[in-house]
Amino acid sequence: MGRYVLRRLLQMIPVFLGATFLIFFMVYALGDPVAALFGDKAPDPATAARIRKDLYLDEPLWSQYVHYMGQVFGGHFGTAFNGQPVTELMAGAFPVTLRLTIVAIVFEVALGITLGVLSGLRRGRGLDTSVLLLTLVVVSIPTFVSGTVLQYVFGVRWGWARPSVAPEAPFTELLLPGVVLGLVSLAYTTRLTRTSLVENARADYVRTAVAKGLPRRRIVVRHLLRTSLIPVVTFIGTDIGALMGGAIVTERIFNIHGVGYQLYQGILRQNSPTVVGFVTILVIVFLLANLLVDLLYAVLDPRIRYA
């Protein structure tokens, strides 16, 4: 098991380097950060040259990247153009997004698995077909559409929730945005749980359990769920990436001052250090989440441990 962990950690490193380099390349090679700094005004050549030197912009790209990575490992993710260190910006925004994401994940997992199990067990009947249909429709509605519509319906028409979340973003106000964020993932989770359950219900070991004379409840809970939920758990891990993307949209719609919001602002204003810094951190978070999920998978499925 320990070797498995080590191996996964080692595999993560080149991926991390590659991903961050890709981002770096996209921002610095394809854009011009200095021009962005000055906004609409034309840059004064001397100042421009000095800034270039400070940001190592004159050196070849790979060298810039190396400098940047060196700073990252020292905990410095750069300074936004307004002077604030990126880490400070992140520290302010991260808890908010974290709360939002927690609401979304709890919603997705609790409701998704329940619905998936219920419809998987009653395959072909009324509940199953309606769940399948409903999830299909939900998957087809992009988050920004459902967010805007639900914001209107619940926030404006019916007044059940605040259409625009307060800056401190308490949990109660994050309920609606959290549900919006988790909606598409909920649909995927439900379908995956259902499919996994249906597939495993036909497995030989379930037939053995029936032949052993075990009561149905025990077969479902102890045998079926135990194996069927494994792919669902791994899916939720990879889904974190989708949630990050969705958070940008949700935060924009509900005016939540989280990571997505800051990132979006950074992009709008071509604030390259912010963008690169934030995305780097997000990539780290994503990779770590994937690693955790892989470890969890090994815990749940003993066949993997000894591979």
Binding site: D204, Y205, T208, K212, G213, P215, R218
Partner: protein
């Protein structure tokens, strides 16, 4: 005397996208306590489906039991409620499956899967059940049972896994065990060990055993009676010695002739020509008639019932009756050449008269 298991005219049909498939078309056989019945047949002959119908573990849909009775210790299982049937399973009758790797739950330790039997059917505590499970593993001769009780199925070898399956089946000392091709997935040497274990346990607990297989070699040592199945029906039943020496059905004769023999040097291997029919399209009359060297017109129109076979040369006179579903069982029994039944040319069947 009530027989342990008495299956009468069992019929099972499958609803498929291409129509209704008659998987089992009227099967009758019986087992007594302490005896072994071997059910022999090719893949697709319906032998496993029959066993699953007896156990009550058919997937329904697409399978449906459409007729017949299954008397177990005098009660017709098919008329019991789901709950009553469940209580019989595992405790009174148990099943051993072919592929232990897929038949055991991959994510639960083996000891826990064994202990489950005691926890569910006998209400034992977890600790007691675990202790019994280790004893069980010892009984089926799994080395270092206590240490291995926490291991998972994929960590065992094929033979050991099959022993675990056997342990699970005998855990509650059932009266009847159905073994569905228990050794097909194993090497020959391991096969022999597992079969020995099964025979020993059967003797010790005086259980009835139904052994389902397609392997004639395995059957000869272990079985008391053999029932040969073809296309969802029984075509012959006989005590084991009698079947091997004097089969009364052309299909059985064909199977026996297909076994390569050491003294058959230089000749071509015999195989029954043709293939078994699809259950969706069974031939009219006797289902074996397209491949049968003895087929006559009546075989193509009238399905033969199970005729009672009287055999003056029987080794075990008066024991299990013999039966054969062939209109011309007498010819077959006496080894008459189908092309020359009156023996004018003086030829006899390959296995002698």
């Amino acid at each position: 005397m009530t027989r342990l298991l008495d299956v009468r005219d069992l019929r099972v049909a499958f609803r498929t996208r291409d129509g209704v498939a008659d998987a089992v078309g009227g099967v009758s056989y019986a087992v007594d306590a302490g005896r072994t019945l071997a059910v022999l047949g090719e893949s697709g002959s319906g032998k496993s489906v029959t066993a699953q119908a007896i156990m009550g573990i058919l997937d329904s849909p697409p399978a449906f039991v459409t007729g017949g009775k299954v008397f177990f210790q005098g009660r017709d299982l098919l008329t019991l409620s789901r709950e009553e049937r469940r209580r019989v399973r595992g405790a009174k009758m148990a099943m051993i499956f072919q592929d232990a790797l897929s038949a055991l739950n991959p994510v639960i330790p083996v000891g826990a899967q064994l202990a489950e039997m005691y926890q569910v059917h006998r209400g034992m505590s977890r600790r007691d059940a675990r202790a019994r499970a280790v004893e069980l593993m010892d009984r089926v001769r799994i080395p270092a049972a206590a240490a291995r009780a926490g291991d998972y199925p994929h960590q065992f070898s094929g033979g050991m896994r099959q022993r675990v399956m056997i342990a699970m089946a005998i855990a509650l000392e059932p009266e009847l065990i159905i073994a569905d091709e228990p050794t097909t997935a194993l090497d020959v040497t391991v096969q022999a060990q597992v079969m020995d274990l099964l025979a020993e346990l059967r003797r010790e607990y005086a259980m009835g055993l139904i052994l389902i297989t397609h392997d004639l070699g395995v059957v000869a040592d272990v079985a008391d009676t053999i029932a040969v199945m073809y296309a969802g029906r029984i075509v012959e039943t006989a005590p084991v010695r009698d079947l091997y020496r004097r089969p009364a059905h052309p299909y059985t004769r064909g199977l026996l002739d297909s076994i390569p023999r050491v003294d058959q040097r230089g000749g071509e291997l015999y195989a029954i020509k043709g293939l078994p029919p699809s259950p969706l399209a069974l031939p009219a009359g006797c289902p074996f008639n397209p491949r049968c060297p003895r087929a006559r017109d009546i075989c193509r129109t009238d399905r033969p019932p199970l005729y009672e076979v009287s055999d003056s040369g029987a080794t075990d006179a008066g024991a299990q009756g013999r039966a054969s579903a062939c209109h011309f069982w007498k010819e077959e029994l006496h080894g008459l050449d189908p092309l020359d039944p009156l023996g004018a040319a003086g030829t006899v069947g390959p296995l002698g008269g």
